[in-house]
């Protein structure tokens, strides 16, 4: 525990990540650079352009020609281009009358930054379609892909899901395996102390560390990022503690398998980090996953934790609604713990 560098990383990482993710996303819609392509000006178009240029979140970059669309997006001068149909006023009139019709404008987004693109598209749709918003087909949006609009807040549960696994499982397993590597485990084993108490003693600091992190993250989320924190604090903490235990059990399991620190790290990265980032719903919604991957994501513990945290933190769900997530987490914890203890040897080999 004298390893001050690891300590610092473990304590600061969540803070930095929360702030980074939080602020990167809170500034995202502040200046979407928008240009328009107008084949033929009419009153409707003038009104729409006025709406765009007067919106505080949008920086209006003027009119460009159709030929410039690609070049403008590529150069990064604009983030989005609105292309009006040449018979825009007629189509709009039709929309207003019937509530449906052909697409009257095209929205071309620079989706290289998918997060800005999503948010920008949402904004532009809102501004342009206005009260006709209920119908999606008025504005035809083109993007690399278009997941559901996600709120900035959704990242906090994701980061919590990742941080705790990282700190509890990865650091614990690495620190236990380090003892094997340096040979101190031999000396520890050849002592009357029960090996399991050694292991649990190793886990306590990381558990404490994670509890500090939990507090920091919740405080930051509430007071710096302004997350509603509408759910019951008791449920949030209960579910988080179960998740911490689960991560510790996972760390223990890894340490029983790995003989070298590097192996422990690799297992942690391959078994935990990748699936958590890719499959837990932290980045990509589970619903959008291919059918093959859905069952895989179901065995990623972070998925259930993140799901529960979203419901609790953002939607303010009651404990009943996250009961399924909670029970799954408890079940996984017990299974992992049993497996880890069964696998644990108080001898070498």
């Amino acid at each position: 525990m004298r390893d001050s560098r690891t300590m610092l990383i473990a304590l600061l990482m969540p803070v930095v990540q929360i702030l980074l993710f939080g602020f990167a996303i809170s500034t995202e819609v502040n200046n979407v650079n928008v240009a328009v392509v107008v084949p033929k000006w009419d009153e409707e178009i003038r009104q729409s352009v006025n709406k765009l240029s007067s919106n505080p979140y949008i920086t209006y970059k003027g009119v460009i020609t159709e030929h410039d669309i690609d070049q403008q997006l590529r150069s990064g001068k604009v983030d989005a281009i609105v292309v009006f149909a040449h018979d825009f006023d007629r189509l709009m009139a039709q929309w207003k009358q019937n509530g449906n019709g052909k697409a009257a404008m095209q929205l071309i987004m620079d989706a290289s930054n998918t997060i800005t693109a999503q948010a920008g598209a949402g904004y532009l749709n809102n501004i342009l379609a206005g009260d006709l918003m209920q119908s999606n087909s008025l504005v035809e949006t083109h993007m690399l892909f278009n997941p559901q609009m996600k709120s900035a807040f959704n990242f906090v549960p994701g980061i919590m899901g990742m941080i705790f696994i990282l700190i509890c499982a990865m650091l614990t397993s690495v620190s236990i395996v380090r003892e094997k590597e340096t040979g101190t485990m031999d000396v520890l084993l050849v002592s009357p102390v029960r090996p399991l108490s050694i292991i649990f003693a190793k886990m306590v600091p990381y558990f404490a560390l994670s509890c500090i992190n939990l507090t920091t993250i919740l405080l930051l989320a509430r007071f710096v990022l302004g997350i509603p924190m509408s759910g019951n604090l008791g449920s949030i903490i209960t579910v988080s503690l179960v998740y911490l235990l689960l991560s510790l059990a996972l760390g223990l399991l890894i340490s029983t398998v790995a003989k070298k620190q590097i192996v422990a790290l690799l297992i942690s990265a391959a078994v935990m980090l990748m699936p958590i980032v890719m499959l837990s719903g932290m980045m990509f919604p589970v619903e959008n996953m291919p059918d093959v991957l859905k069952p895989v994501s179901a065995i990623v513990p972070a998925r259930w934790y993140i799901d529960a945290m979203r419901k609790l933190l953002i939607q303010g769900a009651s404990f009943n609604l996250i009961l399924k997530d909670f029970l799954i987490l408890v079940g996984m914890t017990l299974a992992l713990l049993a497996l880890a203890l069964k696998n644990f040897k108080d001898k070498l080999e």
Partner: protein, 307 residues
């Protein structure tokens, strides 16, 4: 009961790692209060035997008892009674000397003060540096600290795996003095070393190679029963000398030993004959003298008998 009177008893213990046989039917016993040396080169199986005796590994076959307790059945009791110092420095480099001591005392449920008299002769030497982190100690000091930590709970049997490897000659000699005084306090000690010259500091030694015990005896006895006459020989062309000596039928064995070659006489050996034979082959400044064998000579002779 014979098992209770012996500190260590090993019966036909074998252990393989895959296809490599680390120990092959090893049997030996160590009396109480004895300083027993396990002497052999790297790969002789010394560390494996230690790990079996301190209950870290299970043998494939055979039985072993430490302090009268079975290493498989009673391993928990054994762990409380033995002191183990692994070959690799195995303390916490980021804890200070004092913290390491206290840590190990706590592990065994004792305090440093309680057993201070046990470790004092050794610990006193490093106590002035007690606030220094263990990772920044010299080899000799690390070894003293490791020994102190292994002794803090007053073990009845002490296992030291290559304690003098990587330590300077002066510290090595001091270390053996320490072991001697520990032995006089009644401790049974099993120590391994690849240095043949340290064998004479032990009461009895087991010479081992490739998982087999070649011989067990006191170092003096081993030298006494050497049997064949042994000579040291040198000339101005040492490499050619070795080749020529090996071609003579009356030379049983010949090998390099520092400045000289050691030569084991065979049937029909005659010193004057040898010198003239060598001079016929063009060797100059031939110097031949009879010597008393040391443990290394014993080891080499046992090895060649084995083949």
């Amino acid at each position: 009961m014979s098992t209770t009177t012996l500190a260590i008893e090993v019966n036909g213990v074998s252990k393989s790692y895959g296809s490599i046989k680390a120990l092959d039917k090893v049997s030996l016993c160590v009396e109480r209060g004895e300083l027993f040396g396990l002497i052999g080169p790297d790969g002789a199986g010394k560390t494996t035997l230690f790990k079996i005796l301190v209950t870290l590994l299970n043998a494939d076959e055979g039985t072993a008892h430490v302090d009268g307790l079975d290493v498989v059945k009673d391993y928990k009791q054994i762990r409380a009674r033995v002191g183990y110092m692994p070959g690799k420095f195995s303390l916490y480099p980021d804890l200070t000397i004092e913290e390491n001591m206290e840590f190990f005392a706590t592990l065994f449920g004792v305090t440093v003060e309680q057993n201070y008299d046990m470790v004092a002769p050794i610990y006193k030497q490093i106590e002035p540096f007690k606030n220094r982190r263990a990772g920044r100690l010299s080899g000799g000091m690390k070894q003293k600290l490791a020994l102190s930590c292994a002794l803090i709970h007053r073990p009845s049997v002490l296992f030291l795996d290559e304690p003098t490897t990587g330590v300077d000659a002066v510290s090595r000699s001091e270390f053996w003095d320490m072991l001697y005084s520990l032995k006089q306090q009644g401790l049974s000690i099993m120590v391994s070393t690849p240095y043949m010259d340290e064998a004479s500091r032990c009461d009895r030694i087991a010479l081992c190679n490739s998982g087999k015990v070649l011989d067990i005896d006191s170092p003096e006895h081993m030298v006494e029963k050497f049997g064949s006459p042994l000579y040291a020989i040198k000339s101005s062309n040492m490499f050619g000398l070795l080749k020529d000596l090996r071609s003579f039928d009356y030379v049983a064995n010949c090998y390099t030993a520092g400045e000289y070659h050691h030569l084991l006489a065979g049937n029909g050996f005659d010193a004057r004959q040898l010198v003239s034979d060598l001079e016929n082959r063009g060797h100059t400044n031939v110097e031949l003298k009879g010597i008393v064998p040391d443990i290394e000579d014993v080891f080499i002779k046992l090895l060649s008998n084995e083949d």
